[in-house]
């Protein structure tokens, strides 16, 4: 059995699976259920300043359904915790006392005033929690009040607030980043400059998930009107993977731990985030869809995969794919692959032909011999784009086969068609 124990920015947990700051971590009741199910840690749903709590709407969630698959994407317009600060603090303290081996990190969002941060940090530290996560990500509601993404989109604010927090607490400080920026490196580097112990990303993506064509309003609809919300769930995973990789391979962010978030539903998703540099992962939508029991397979599956690959622990895989993430200009233009159709597996649906013929390179012939359909790759036309392989509904029927060209690797920086090419030495 591989060792799944995780130490992230000094925070220890029995496994790398944490529940992200969200409805599943809003109360002691939920968090205790999560810990009983086996989750390694939680980021407690964002606390705000003392005083009257925020007020939430009904309804709050919208979903993207694809071909009958529910919640492929998920969007919410919920704000931070709407429970009194003192209730949350009391419960956090109790939970940490009852579950000392689990990671309990507390998400925070208060106005951009040093004293506000100083005050909240003091009372949070009193709970004996393991760390704080600065919510600079929420794209709706709170951002209109100058918090959340309104801070996260301005690197100078991130740096400033992070520095305040580091000054006013000895707890590890995680900075949660918003994807609603043109380049995530700006905010990530600012967090590092401010002294952050780690970053966590991504928070939700600005979204209108659907329009109710009867009400003529975005969903979720609140008394006839809707607003943009935060998008998450399996559909955002590619966006998150990219942003995680960008930070992981950025020299300025070197050594900055990353807690990966964004559409993680399975151990395999988690392994992908880890390969791109995430030291821990956070989950929300999958738990909101299926309940906390999914942790069983996440832990078990990750363990079995590590064993199968003969990795002793998480450190053996974290960041392992980062050296293979590069810029397009460094890809080998002499690498040649061709589509191959396994005629024994082919079910004659013709989707490869339709895709290639209509939208690509006319490289798959639709043949009929004595009434029998046959689809064949025309090698001379195939550019190795993979479209047919992706359109094919049969796993393993279309594969891309490497064709030796006998030519040495050649990338765009060296290519004769590139007027800016580097001269060969």
């Amino acid at each position: 059995m591989a060792d799944l124990r995780c130490t992230f920015a000094g925070i220890k947990s029995p496994n790398p699976f944490w529940l992200a700051s969200a409805p599943p971590t809003d109360k002691e009741y939920n968090v205790v259920r999560a810990f009983k199910a086996g989750w390694g840690g939680v980021v407690w749903k964002t606390l705000g300043e003392a005083g009257p709590p925020v007020v939430n709407t009904a309804s709050r969630y919208g979903t993207l359904e694809v071909n009958g698959q529910r919640m492929v994407g998920f969007n919410n317009i919920e704000l931070i915790t709407d429970r009194p600060l003192e209730v949350n603090l009391r419960e956090i303290k109790q939970v940490k006392r009852d579950w000392p081996d689990r990671a309990v990190i507390v998400s925070l969002m208060v106005p951009c005033v040093e004293d506000s941060w100083k005050q909240i940090l003091a009372v949070v530290e009193d709970t004996a929690c393991d760390g704080v996560e600065l919510n600079f990500g929420c794209p709706h509601g709170m951002s209109e009040r100058g918090m959340g993404a309104a801070v996260g989109q301005v690197p100078e604010y991130i740096e400033m607030v992070t520095r305040w927090c580091k000054q006013h607490t000895r707890m590890p400080v995680l900075v949660k980043l918003t994807p609603n920026v043109t380049n995530v490196l700006g905010p990530a580097r600012a967090a590092k400059r401010g002294g952050a112990d780690a970053v966590s990303l991504i928070n939700t993506v600005n979204s209108i998930i659907a329009v109710d064509l009867d009400k003529m309003a975005p969903t979720p609809t609140v008394d006839g009107k809707g607003t943009h919300g935060g998008y998450c769930g399996p559909a955002v995973k590619p966006i998150a993977l990219h942003m995680v990789a960008e930070i992981a391979r950025d020299p300025e962010c070197a050594g900055l731990p990353i807690s990966g978030i964004g559409g993680i539903s399975t151990w395999r998703d988690a392994a992908e985030f880890m390969a791109l540099g995430a030291g821990s992962v956070q989950v929300c939508t999958a738990a909101m869809h299926y309940g906390f029991k999914i942790i069983d397979d996440m832990v078990d599956g990750l363990n079995n995969w590590l064993d199968e690959k003969r990795h002793a622990d998480l450190a053996a895989v974290v960041g392992r794919a980062v050296p293979n993430v590069t810029d397009w200009q460094y890809l080998n233009l002499n690498h040649k692959i061709l589509a191959r159709i396994d005629q024994d597996l082919c079910i004659k649906c013709g989707l490869c032909h339709a895709a290639c013929e209509d939208t690509s390179h006319q490289a798959i012939a639709a043949l009929r011999t004595s009434g029998t359909r046959r689809y064949e790759v025309i090698d001379a036309e195939c550019v190795g784009c993979n479209l047919c392989m992706h359109a094919c509904p049969v796993t393993g029927c279309i594969t891309m086969v490497e064709v030796p060209t006998g030519k040495p690797p050649l990338n765009w920086t060296q290519h004769p068609n590139n007027p800016m090419r580097q001269a060969a030495e």
Partner: protein, 450 residues
């Protein structure tokens, strides 16, 4: 309990009759339809489409279900097959579209095309939408004989093209086998008449029930009074066993019994034997056997003279009979009807086999199957008398059925035919619809170019 001739009605509770003759397959709700529709790969050059005798754009209508364009889906179906609702229920899809479905090759489980087709067409009927409008009137009148799938499909297409049609049928109701022949649990809730009403609601179709060819109207007269004639009379006769005792009480013709069953509002009034033997291997044999079981027969056996592979009932139908508690006795042919006190008591069968030349021969062993009721389901025949003029054949026949060309024209230049009454047909509802549709286009072409 009498030992001989135990034939009785009212064997079951009202709830049992209701359940036994309700939908054999419940309709899909929206969620299940969306999930099933999502299984369709939307094939290029789709094999299912080619396997459909009426050429429905199956990937097209399924995609429309997937996008909640259910009206569009129903229209896509009905444009090619106006009886798409009945066919969704009665088509042997396992040997047609669903056999060709690439998912059958991929994973042995085709897209449930029949259920999806029903989902779309039911939706249109429930919303009482008439999606078609007739072309400008041509002033031509066509006589159609037989208001079954072939005749109604022909009439509907001709009406759509702007012709006026008059449809004669010997029976009091239109619908043909959908109304009188198909097993009750396949088309419950008076579906056949709802479909007829939908077809007639287009206009241009003047239905004349109770008018039989050869009795109330003649082919000579129709050819004189109309611009063209279409014959879709189906098969009016049944084969006999050619055994002594076929007139014994308890010996029944399956087709006639099913007709009575279909027309009976209260199934509990139908007398059925406690022990039932069915002779035959086609869909009629399956239908009567299962319905006998569902009427409360205790023991139902189908005796068929060859093996399972040779049965014209599909493997799916055979399995359906077996899961309904029907026994199928292969390689057995009846040789003698047994009676006791003037009533049927059973049937003596001989086991059969194939000789070296592949010819069916008796294998010598004889055994008796006790029976209170015996159903003959050994095939139907075309009754040619109505298309004779005196002793003279008006139409060319081959093997007792009407000869037609590729465009469904008979040997007479102004007479077309389709459905089960033609030679070389498939004896399927869906083929009959296609026959009627194609004949309509041929008639239209003929009339416009005459």
């Amino acid at each position: 309990m009498p030992d001989i001739g135990d034939i009785a009605a009212n064997r079951l509770s009202a709830e049992q009759y209701q359940r036994h003759f309700d939908d054999v397959e419940p309709p899909l709700d929206r969620k299940r339809a969306l999930v099933e529709a999502s299984r369709c790969h939307f094939c290029y050059d789709a094999p299912c489409l080619e396997a459909c005798p009426t050429g429905i754009d199956i990937p097209g209508f399924i995609r429309k279900i997937a996008t909640d364009n259910v009206k569009g889906s129903a229209v896509t179906i009905l444009e090619e097959n106006i009886m798409g609702g009945a066919c969704a229920r009665v088509c042997p899809t396992e040997i047609l579209c669903e056999q060709a479905c690439v998912r059958t090759a991929q994973e042995g489980k085709p897209v449930d095309i029949g259920a999806l087709q029903r989902y779309a067409t039911d939706w249109l009927f429930e919303h009482d939408i008439q999606p078609f409008t007739r072309a400008a009137s041509t002033g031509k009148r066509i006589a159609i004989v037989g208001a079954g799938p072939a005749g109604l499909a022909c009439a509907h297409r001709l009406a759509l093209l702007g012709h006026d049609t008059v449809v004669f049928d010997a029976r009091p109701k239109a619908g043909g086998l959908n109304e009188y022949g198909v097993a009750a649990y396949k088309v419950p809730h008076d579906f056949a008449q709802r479909e007829v009403d939908f077809i007639l609601s287009l206009g241009g179709i003047d239905l004349r029930p109770g008018q039989a060819l050869g009795r109330d109207v003649s082919l000579v007269q129709l050819r004189r009074d109309y611009d063209a004639v279409f014959i879709g009379t189906g098969l009016g006769g049944v084969n006999a066993l050619a055994l002594d005792g076929e007139t014994l009480p308890g010996v029944e013709d399956a087709v006639a019994y099913i007709e009575r069953l279909r027309q009976a509002a209260d199934k509990s009034r139908l007398p059925i034997g406690r022990r039932v033997v069915v002779i035959g291997g086609g869909n009629t044999a399956i239908d009567i056997a299962v319905q006998a079981k569902r009427l409360g027969a205790e023991d139902v056996t189908i005796a068929y003279r060859r093996g399972a592979d040779a049965m014209s009932a599909t493997p799916h139908e055979q399995e359906f009979a077996q899961t309904n508690g029907v026994k199928i006795k292969h390689w057995a042919r009846p040789v003698r009807l047994l009676s006791d006190g003037g009533r049927l008591s059973g049937v003596e069968c001989e086991s059969t086999t194939l000789d070296a030349d592949g010819k069916l021969v008796g294998a010598g062993t004889r055994f008796a199957l006790p029976a209170d009721m015996l159903f003959k389901a050994i095939g139907q025949t075309f009754v040619a008398a109505p298309v004779r003029d005196g002793g003279r054949e008006l139409l060319d026949l081959r093997q007792g059925r009407i000869v037609v060309d590729d465009a469904h024209r008979t040997s007479l230049p102004d007479v077309w035919a389709g459905g089960d009454c033609i030679s070389g047909g498939q004896d399927l509802t869906v083929s009959a619809v296609q026959d009627g549709k194609r004949a309509a286009h041929a008639i239209d072409h003929f009339l416009r170019n005459a």
